[in-house]
Amino acid sequence: MRRSEEKMEEDRLLRDSARRFFEEQRAWSPTGKHNGQAAYLDMGWPGMGLPEELGGMGADLSQCLMAVEEGGRVLLPDWLIDDVALTAGLAPLCDKSGMGDLLGRVPSGSVRFVLVTGDRRHPPLRLAKNGTDATVTGRSGLVPDALRATHLLVCAENAEGEAQLAAIAVDAADGVHREAYHLMDGRKAGILSFDGAAIPAGNVLASGEEARQRIAELTDLCTAGLVADCIGALDAGFSATIDHLKTRKQFGQPLSAFQAVQHLMADAYCDRENLRSLTIAMTAAFDGPADERRKAVSAAKAYLGRNGLAAASRCIQVCGGIAMTEEYFVGHVYKRLQTTAALFGNAEDHLATLM
């Protein structure tokens, strides 16, 4: 929360360059066509949280999430969340067989990990040991950007119900089926079915308690990335709304002159500021104990699904009809938040972990 002056200067530079980059190269447009697809590879964003010896930038989580947030501002269709937030948490795994090499290829974009968890409302993915090898079976939940991933980090359970974390290279694997999904906000995701897909020896990265902890942390990282992305989107939606309110006239006055509109936006502003505060607290909590980290993440994610979404909805309301059109930015912000609210556990799920 309180960073050194040096760090803060670093942060400022990073944020400025990220914002400039996204605004210039990937500005949002109603047609959804962005220039410079994947140009951010050149900027070195993917794997920025990895240590420099792996080709990363050694950025801390706060900086990683800042990059994700800036992507959210332009409603970036790519999932920086996996490229940046998830991989930031993979460094501790790099001494596992092969993982060091793989992680070293993340910054160039030639390796992309996604986290594959079970569907909350269905039985978990099953990992069965078979001598030194293993197989995985079951159907995943919705996995953001599953189809562009080269490697899957599979969160499963063995027959005894113990957690298992395994890496699967998509190209090399038999018995992995990927079903493509379109999300409400225009982004892409997938659901993976594992039909006894083989996992070579050594690719089971962790088992039991260690796997449980690792999976919890990686899940929290992805969730944190989703929240950071929405903070950016909501901020940009706010700016667009405020601009509209100052120019659009009704009953002979700009909309911004109406007290009812002012107060709706003031409420939304309080919600937005709280969401940002919870995001900062969540980021700091990754340095603390797992239980508190989990609660900090859940508080932010639940707040996003309740108050963040309500704030985005208020932006539509005060803009009026124009925000109902596909051409207008603000409606897309709402869809981004509504989509995100349902990923990695919705507000009800996260409220349940808060007590």
Partner: protein
């Protein structure tokens, strides 16, 4: 009956018998595919609506709130309420709102005999579709800012301007168009109502895609569109008076009470069929159960308020706070229900299989509905406008 119809004790035995009779008739008449489409779509095609309109017309129910002399069944407000309730319960496709609700009553109340003879039959049969040309880019909730003009010529009127948010305009045959005929007076005083064919020279229509990704509204450009003298409805400069009369006539329209009750019951069934993480039906998950209970309470409140308004409806007076109250609470409730649906369906509501993009699914229909439903607190006079009206008319503030 499969759906929960509550508050039976509020109805007389005759009314309950009436409800059972129309309900069972509606279920018999309604083709299964149309019921299915109604459940799984937000906007229906003209073909589907026309087909259903013809079936209803065969029974004399296509304009169920019109008086008998104009081709309606001549039902009482309470009978109409019950019919509408059964109609929603049967998943019957929504009636195209403009012809039946807006244009018909306007014409049979204020139109000439020639206009009635020419236009009412097409509405009853469903052969002619209408759209509404009230809103403009710069005049949404604020009709005083209306800029479209109608200039009198020797043979009729020339209309110029631009209309926005023209729902169903892309398949309508005719538009009821509000235009300024006197620019020397302030506010709504100088407005008149016209009938404009959508194929008139000079009229151009351009689709507007809404955030649910669908095309149901349009922009309409009127560039020296000429209409004959008898395109004017009633008297010149009385357009706003007529529009207000209609608002008064249908005080509870915007409540969408039957749709909300029906959707709520369907959502409850979906929640009973969906398992939570513990393998328990979501409807038995206490957090969801409580949210359903709160909405049950709110639906009952809306039902009771609408019935209260119908019971004392006298008509003829200025539109009072009732119209605004049911608009505010009805629209809030519609949003509450679709928000709950988003949590019931969770990931299924925000993700569609790429290979089944156009396949109907309950979850996808809820998602579309939820997005489009952002509009219900904005259209037909935003809820902020309604609250100002309530403060003024009901509270005297």
């Amino acid at each position: 009956m499969e759906t929960a119809m509550t508050m039976d004790s509020l109805f007389t035995a005759e009314e309950q018998a009436f409800r059972d009779r129309v309900g069972s008739a509606l279920r018999d008449m309604l083709p299964a595919d149309l019921a299915e489409k109604t459940r799984n779509s937000v906007h229906l095609s003209r073909e589907d609506m026309a087909r259903w309109n013809r079936i209803l017309h065969g029974k004399g129910w296509s304009a169920h709130h019109w008086p008998q002399e104009h081709g309606g069944p001549g039902w009482s407000p309470m009978e109409r309420y019950l019919f509408e309730s059964e109609y929603a319960n049967a998943d019957a496709p929504p009636i195209s709102v403009f012809g039946v609700y807006l244009v018909g009553p306007t014409l049979y109340t204020f139109g000439s005999q020639a206009q009635k003879d020419r236009y009412l039959p097409g509405i009853l049969t469903g052969d002619e579709f209408w759209c509404q040309g009230y809103s403009e880019p710069e005049a949404g909730s604020d009709l005083a800012a209306l800029r479209t003009t109608a200039r009198k010529t020797e043979t009729g009127w020339v209309i110029n301007g631009q209309k926005a948010w023209t729902t169903e305009g892309h398949f309508a045959d005719l538009m009821i168009c509000l235009a300024r005929t006197d620019s020397t007076v302030k506010q709504q005083a100088g407005l008149s109502l016209f009938i404009v064919p959508m194929d008139a020279p000079g009229l151009k229509i351009s689709p507007v895609i809404t955030i649910d990704g669908a095309h149901s509204v349009n922009e309409v450009f009127l560039d020296n569109v000429e209409v004959p003298e008898d395109a004017l409805i009633g008297e010149e400069n009385k357009g706003w008076t007529y529009a207000k009369f209609l608002l008064n006539h249908e005080r509870t329209n915007n409540a969408q009470v039957h749709r909300s009750r029906r959707e709520f019951e369907r959502l409850k069934r979906s929640a009973a069929e969906t398992l939570d993480g513990d393998g328990r039906p979501l409807l038995d998950n206490p957090a969801f159960r409580r949210r359903f209970a709160i909405i049950e309470m709110e639906v009952r409140a809306l039902e009771a308020t609408v019935l209260r308004i119908l019971a004392v409806q006298t008509g003829g007076k200025e539109p009072g706070p009732e119209t605004s109250i049911v608009k505010v609470i009805g629209s809030r409730l519609q949003q509450m229900i679709s928000e709950l649906a988003m949590d019931v369906f969770a990931e299924r509501a925000i993700a569609v299989p790429a290979n089944g993009l156009n396949a109907p699914s309950d979850a996808a229909a809820w998602a579309e509905r939820h997005l489009f439903r952002r509009v219900v607190t904005i259209y037909a006079g935003s809820n902020e406008i309604q609250k100002t009206i309530i403060a003024r008319t009901a509270l005297g503030l």
